[in-house]
Symmetry: C2
Subunit: 467 residues, 2 copies
């Protein structure tokens, strides 16, 4: 993930702007629906047509992520993702991306808790060649001891620069560790430093052989191709690989009931501004009851998204006690979703003050719900975003990839706008009451001061200056 995905987000942004300029008519979106089939070795394939330009986005999603790592070897999924750019018998070490580039394409990869994905954007006439290359490294990866050790240093440095030197990232890591009890979502995707430092060639190859196989992968192709073309090319590449009979459905240790409000406090002079944030464990789109995840999406759109949201309005616009405030719901993971809320106090205002104001906003929604006008506006915003995002070939491919790798279906994905439009006021209120419960939460505070050792500030009430 990490470095690689950053590059790709920049590329994505450029692409979004390019497509916006192209001004495609809105009605072109309605036929942007997927065709799906399965190869005889069990590899799932989804094709999403987009004939506006002769390019394709090709993604292979493995049903394995950081949450599937065995105890003690955290970071191995992400490490393997890096190592997948080493050699096979046909491709020299480091050549994969150079070949894609010479073919006029771009490539990258990322690792999340639930998935590892490799993707390229390339001219449609190069798709066949690309698929042969991707199929090749699905089963023929070679690793030398030297490559592994060098790449491990790269990842340790990546961790140092992205986590160790970033107090906000440290706080986030600590909050996740506290939020989950036994579940592996509590372990950072990049891995704990002391465990990364011990990852070996054997760990990487063992993980590769256990999880990388056509019957544990999903191919998503969006772009200027037909399902028939993709099927022929897929059968000639991935289709020739044997299924791995050892692949089993994923099981992670599930958590007991969430039953205690928790807090995490980081004091670090390098933190720029004090801040407070809170996570609540919720269901995800996979685990929620029907309509519940959609209600949570709308709830947090209303509560925390943008300058018209409840949190921003109260804390920033009205009371002027925060320079920033907001929140979101993330429901795309396999086993749990998450609500997040946050605020950065205005100068001279304590964390305790902004935290109380956040509590007041949420308590009001739990008690009184949201308004019809807010719900309408939130629905319209989501539906517009959905259509707008469908215009981006890469975003479109990712939408299917994320959902399928978590166990959802194409039908489920495509019915989402309809389900969003059906959410009622009482669904939002019910979801708020059920999930905005302190016992499901961890609250994190970040203070730009030196750690004080034994003297322990009581909770969030540790302001620089009191308001």
């Amino acid at each position: 993930m990490q470095k690689r995905v950053q590059v790709s987000l920049t590329a994505l942004l450029a692409l979004v702007m390019m497509l916006a300029l192209a001004q495609q008519p809105l009605e072109a979106q309605s036929d942007r629906r997927a065709t799906q089939f399965t190869l005889s070795n069990g590899m799932q394939v989804v094709v999403v047509p987009d004939h506006r330009a002769p390019v394709v986005t090709h993604m292979v999603w493995y049903r394995v992520g950081a949450a599937d790592e065995p105890p003690g070897v955290s970071g191995i999924a992400h490490f393997l993702e890096h190592l997948m750019f080493k050699s096979t018998e046909k491709i020299a070490s480091g050549e994969f991306s150079r070949i894609v580039s010479r073919l006029g394409g771009q490539d990258n990869a990322f690792t999340s808790q639930d998935a590892t994905a490799y993707f390229q954007r390339i001219s449609k006439d190069r798709l066949g060649q690309l698929m042969l290359m991707e199929a090749d490294r699905m089963v023929n990866l070679r690793l030398t001891e030297a490559e592994v050790l060098t790449e491990r240093d790269v990842i340790l440095e990546e961790r140092r620069s992205r986590v160790e030197n970033n107090p906000q990232a440290v706080l986030d890591e600590q909050m996740n560790a506290v939020l989950y009890y036994s579940h592996t979502y509590g372990i950072p995707v990049i891995g704990w430093e002391h465990e990364i430092a011990r990852l070996s060639r054997e760990d990487a190859l063992g993980f590769y052989k256990r999880h990388y196989a056509p019957n544990n992968a999903i191919l998503v192709v969006s772009g200027d191709v037909t399902p028939e073309e993709v099927k022929r090319l897929a059968e000639d590449s991935y289709g020739r690989l044997p299924a791995n009979g050892e692949i089993r459905p994923r099981t992670r240790p599930m958590d007991p009931e969430q039953r205690a409000a928790r807090r995490v406090e980081i004091k670090d002079p390098r933190a720029g501004k004090p801040s407070v944030q809170r996570y609540y464990v919720t269901p995800s789109y996979v685990t929620a009851e029907p309509g519940e995840a959609e209600a949570l999406d709308l709830l947090m759109k209303i509560a925390g998204s943008g300058a018209t949201s409840r949190l921003y309005q109260k804390l920033v616009s009205d009371e002027k006690i925060a320079s920033s405030a907001g929140g979101w719901y993330g429901g795309s993971s396999m086993d749990f979703g998450k609500i997040a809320v946050y605020a950065i106090p205005a100068d001279g205002v304590s964390l305790a003050t902004v935290e109380s104001a956040i509590d007041a906003v949420l308590a009001d929604i739990v008690k009184n719900g949201v308004t019809e006008a807010e719900l309408d506006r939130a629905k319209k915003a989501y539906l517009a975003e959905y259509i707008y995002e469908s215009d981006n070939q890469s975003t479109l491919a990712r939408r299917y990839g994320w959902a399928l790798v978590a166990g959802r279906t194409v039908e489920d994905i495509e019915a989402w706008p309809e389900r969003i439009s059906k959410v009622k006021l009482e669904d939002v209120k019910k979801a708020a009451a059920r999930y905005l419960d302190a016992r499901r939460s961890v609250t994190g505070t970040l203070l730009p001061v030196a750690p004080d050792g034994v003297v322990h500030e009581t909770g969030a009430s540790a302001p620089l200056r009191r308001s």
Copy 2:
């Protein structure tokens, strides 16, 4: 553990009193040293003589505990401990303890994070027969589906009565879950309820076959026997069992650096009184640098043990803000030790007030250390306890068992009084400064009020009445 160990503690207490009445001369202790040898199948044996009465304490310690359970099957070590009282080909289900009782003895068992132990106290002439029985169930356990399901219900009920109905136990469970990141010490010994509910006969037998073998066990016999007698009896019983070639040294996922002060808040109307407690992660006797665990023992004796301790003196005697206050260091585990401090506020005093007072006591020790007089008194108290405990045959056997199963040596155990006597004032101060660090801690608060859903009290500042 749980129910069984309680029974045994009562028995222990009776025994302590009986032995105290017997008034053995103090010099009799000096020869209470262990003889050790290993059977040809790898079983470790320790014999500790105690010839005051014709009885023996026989304990078999397995090098496996709850912290060795695979992800998702928490509670299996303790469950198996219960199931070890079912049948073998020679002994009918439930008969083991009845036979011991008919032989005039008592038996019990317990499970901890690091060990599972089975023990009996019996007349010396029955020792051979007992060892044959214990050796038999080490490898010949039989379980029926019905027995497993019935016993699982027993354990679920045990969990309900001991944890679910006890807010203090819930808080303790939550604090441990938050204190450790990846390490299995964060999972309760009895197991998470949803995982206990799924434990199967296959889980139990799989765990049994993987961990129960002579080369994964330690036999400790204390009492009226000679090492030669024990050796002969052990060779005729345990010595006939084959070693298990699959036994490997234990490895648990170790935690990353402790780096954030954490809090856990339980609100439950059933809690009797509000209370605050804090745990700090420290090294254990196994993982500490030389002398460090001894310094921690003395530190917490001075800070938190009894009515003369710093915490009790300040919070209870002087300021009268608490009805109870204290602390301890637990250093007997394999991978981590723990410092605990706690207080129960006096009526009308807030948790925040007593927590600040605890902080002040600890900060003073970190800054100024303890006094020579305090250190002398603490050393004398430990040395007296050591001698006094050596007078208790069962305590003596446990002392060796606990330490050996965690990987320590007989020499290490027996040199402890000498190491305690050598600890200096600066060692205590250094240990306090290093380990009484908020970033290594989790603070738990318990309030006898209804959970309030969304409204989140900020930290410990949630008094019933403010002082």
